[in-house]
Every structure is written in structure tokens, then in C-alpha cells.
Symmetry: C2
Subunit: 279 residues, 2 copies
């Protein structure tokens, strides 16, 4: 496996591999089993697999955890090597966003609510960086986890709107044995928070089950889920919604393809999770 740090190096490598099927997994590092599942998916479908590691400053708010976001390149390199990655691209912030950088890519409607409301500049940071990465890597397929469901939809819309010639592949959420969705931020949880964090997926699972059993009134479904979450004193709900799965518009009556979206806080740690359900 090669590690390339410069944009020019990446471009040169890419030109030497024009006729390959390129699978791309963009990450912020601190790789876990969730990322590895994306890499394995790419490995299965493509002749070459590129992983990028870039802790993208543009997608962090001023009060967020950019500075303490976990970084461990050596361990990430080892995991990528073992997973059969061909190329690890680790650009520097200075080269990715040089002094005179001044372009913003924004997906308007889909970015407005939920995570976009909680983190006002988050998605334009994501879409600006992802546009750059897709222009650089020019992958046939790029793999994103369902864990960041709104991000996945925003990126699908971006690629469609800008006619970027890459297929966006959604990969399922990987969970701990108690249901907690894997996230690089889980390491921030204290032991007691970690135990309580499992409630989030349990509540979502309950919501899914209620819908599958025929409940349709979203206010009632939400009340049930909130009740389950309220059993954990550490958890503060940010949002908990039943949405139309493509537009993310909140529903009052469950129908069609839906996604249950949730964001909670445990102390200073913010967790998101989601589940899909169809009736």
C-alpha cells in the first residue's frame, strides 16, 4: 500500500491508473469497523481502492471538537494495509485549503434541517471537501456509511446536481453488540455514558417496531421513544423525528419510505443515529 500526501502525487498516481475501476472511501481517520466495512465493500467491487484521511476543518463549527478529534495515522495505515487498500491519501490542510482558497459548494434544501440546523456550516464544509476529493480521485464508486444519513443524501444530491461521474454507495451502519452505532467520537464517552448511549439505538429500534406493528401517529411513536431515552439521565435529546426518507421532511403520519433520525447529547458528547423503515 502506498501513502501519498501531496495533491500532485495523487493526481500523478491517478493518471497512471486511468483504466481501473476505482473505489473510494473518504474518511477523517480514527478508523473503526464501520470504515473497514466500507473498505471491504469497495474491495469487493473495484480493482483499486483509495482511502483518504483528512480531518476537514471546514466541517467543524467554531465551538466543536476539531482540535481534539482523534488522530492516529500509524494505526490507520496498518488497518488500511490489512484491509487491502491500494492507496492512502493524506493531504495536509495547508495544501487542501491554500491561503487564497475561496470556493464554497452548498446543497441548499437538504442541508437546512436536522444536522444543518444544529451545525450551520457543517454541510457546506462537507460538500466543499467532498467535491474536491471527487475531482481529485475521480472514483467510479464512493462509499459512505448510512450512519451519517443526512450527509449521505446531501452527497448524493451534490453528485447528481453537479453531474459528477461517481456512483455513491450507501453502506449499512455497523453497531456494537449493545446496538450503539460505531463512531470515532464514541471514544469521548465516559464509562457510564457509554453504557447509557445504547439507549439511542434501542429507542430507534422501538420506533421501527411500532411502525411495523401498525402504529401510524408520529407523535405517539415519538412519545414512546422519548420515554425510553428518558430512562437514561445523561441523555438530552436534540431531535428525534420520523421523516420521509428522501426529502427528510418530518411526517405526522407514518407512511412510505421513512427514516427515523435522532441526535442526542451525553454531557459534551453529541451522538447521531438513524434507522430506515418502510410500510
Amino acid at each position: 500500500m502506498r501513502t501519498i500526501r501531496s495533491i500532485r502525487g495523487l493526481q500523478a498516481w491517478r493518471r497512471k491508473h486511468e483504466n481501473q475501476q476505482i473505489g473510494f472511501v473518504p474518511t477523517m481517520g480514527a478508523l473503526h469497523e464501520g470504515h473497514l466495512s466500507l473498505i471491504r465493500q469497495a474491495r469487493k467491487h473495484c480493482s483499486m481502492v483509495i482511502v483518504s484521511i483528512f480531518v476537514n476543518p471546514l466541517q467543524f463549527g467554531p465551538a466543536e471538537d476539531l482540535g481534539r478529534y482523534p488522530r492516529n495515522l500509524k494505526a490507520d495505515q496498518q488497518l488500511c494495509r490489512e484491509a487491502g487498500v491500494d492507496l492512502l491519501f493524506v493531504p495536509s490542510g495547508e495544501e487542501f485549503y491554500p491561503q487564497n482558497f475561496q470556493t464554497t459548494v452548498r446543497v441548499n434544501r437538504l442541508s437546512e434541517h436536522w444536522e444543518g440546523e444544529a451545525r450551520p456550516t457543517h454541510f457546506e464544509g462537507v460538500t466543499t471537501a467532498v467535491t474536491k476529493l471527487l475531482c481529485l480521485v475521480r472514483p467510479n464508486q464512493a462509499y459512505f456509511g448510512q450512519k451519517d444519513y443526512q450527509q449521505l443524501l446531501v452527497i448524493k444530491q451534490l453528485v447528481k446536481d453537479l453531474n459528477i461521474d461517481t456512483k455513491i454507495v450507501r453502506c449499512p451502519i455497523v453497531r456494537e453488540s449493545d446496538g450503539l452505532a460505531l463512531s470515532s467520537r464514541n471514544c469521548y464517552l465516559s464509562e457510564i455514558q457509554r453504557r447509557q448511549a445504547a439507549c439511542l439505538s434501542v429507542a430507534l429500534r422501538q420506533g421501527v417496531k411500532s411502525i411495523q406493528l401498525g402504529k401510524r401517529q408520529v407523535s405517539l411513536i415519538q412519545r414512546e421513544m422519548k420515554k425510553m431515552l428518558s430512562q437514561s439521565k445523561e441523555i438530552a435529546i436534540e431531535y428525534l423525528a420520523v421523516c420521509e426518507a428522501q426529502s427528510l421532511k418530518p411526517l405526522t403520519v407514518a407512511k412510505g419510505s421513512m427514516v427515523l433520525l435522532a441526535a442526542v447529547r451525553l454531557g459534551h458528547v453529541r451522538l447521531i443515529d438513524n434507522m430506515l423503515v418502510k410500510v
Copy 2:
């Protein structure tokens, strides 16, 4: 020469020509000698030349001339054919910006002044459409006229910032025998306006000459140019500036690489022009 109207058709054509050197000339149609000079330049450097014709609604303000912008596909096709164009791409508005379209690409600082001030959503309309076109056509080189000098800089910045793998080539302004820069909008001018419009380039030429002869005080250079323009009663100046050629920051003392930028109105017709000068 082929004419392709669908995005899918363009993409299929492009995939069949992966190993060609593609030269691209994006236009809004109503082709004139200025466009043809871009096409000839592309023809000289590239193995395949693609021209697009798309009157991009996003780059027109609500009170602007989108509806009456000159359109003449038959004549444009003929000109392209004669100029040796390989492919004419004429997307429809409905397919280019489908109902659910919601992405905006913006180059921030460079878009703020001059044309960006006079036409607040103009450049983000240009950069959104150009990003799409570059992702679709994936040209090795794309040709833009110096006539829209600020647009040229904005697009160069866009391509650099987003790591789009296309070289942006600047082509010189083509002028009528009296100095008027060619523009599809010149057809809006009445006979009397048309005669007076020549003053614009005469004034800019005077500014350049003054600088070359050693004048450095921009206020004095501007006064001279304004005096020349004031000889035409129909002309109202919108802006007339001596700027640093890369950043477009206005100068008070002439130095280095400069561009003289001007926008004027003759009745309802708005004209822009510019000249480069170096000391």
C-alpha cells in the same frame, strides 16, 4: 459535426473518447467572431473540440435580459460546423436544472466586486453552470474570452480551488474596427448608441497609454477616461477602475500587472470592457 441535446448522450459520447485531448468552449450561443476565435484556438491545440450552447438562467438577474437574449441555433450550428467543431452540446434547461436541483457553487472574494456588485447572483450562476459543464465534458482545456475578465479569474479560481482537472485558457478580446469589443449583446444597441459605444474602448486605450507614458495617479487617469466617455451623451458609467490584475483590488497608484475595468450603460444596454497593462 454532431449535435447532442441530452446529458446522457453527452456522457456516452465522452466515454467513447477517453483518450482524446478535449478542448471545450462553453457559450450562450449567438456566436460571433469572438467565440470563433476561442474555437479556432481549441481546434489548434486539441484533437476534439466541444462547444456548448446554454443560455444559463441562473446567471441572469430577475430584471435582466434572459427572455430576449439572442438565440439562433441554426446559424450557430452552421458556424460551428464551418469552424471544425466535433460536438455541439445543447442541453435543455429542464434537464440541466431539474426540479429538485439545489446545489450552488460560489467563489467568494473574487465574485464580490465589480460585476458581482452590479449583478449579485450572476457569478454563482456562472460557477454553478461551469462546474456542471466541466464535470460533464471533462475537457483537458477550456477556453474563455478575456472580454469577461472577472469571470475568467473567477473560473480560474474555481478550477484551482476544486481541483478540477482542466486548464483554463484565456483568449484575447476580438474587437470591431472602431474598437468595440464583440458581444452578443451589441445587437441591442441602436444605431446611434452603436456609434457612441466605441468610446468605451477608446477611453480604456487612453488609460493604458497614460500609464505606459508614466502617469501613476489613478484618480488622474480615471478623470481623463471619464472625460473621454462624457463626450458621448448616451453613456452612463457604472464603474471605471484600475485594478491589480489578479485580485481585482482597486489601486490608487498604478503599479505591477493591472487591468482597467469598465462597465457602462447606453440606455438599457449594459456593456463591459477591459484592458491589461503592466509597468
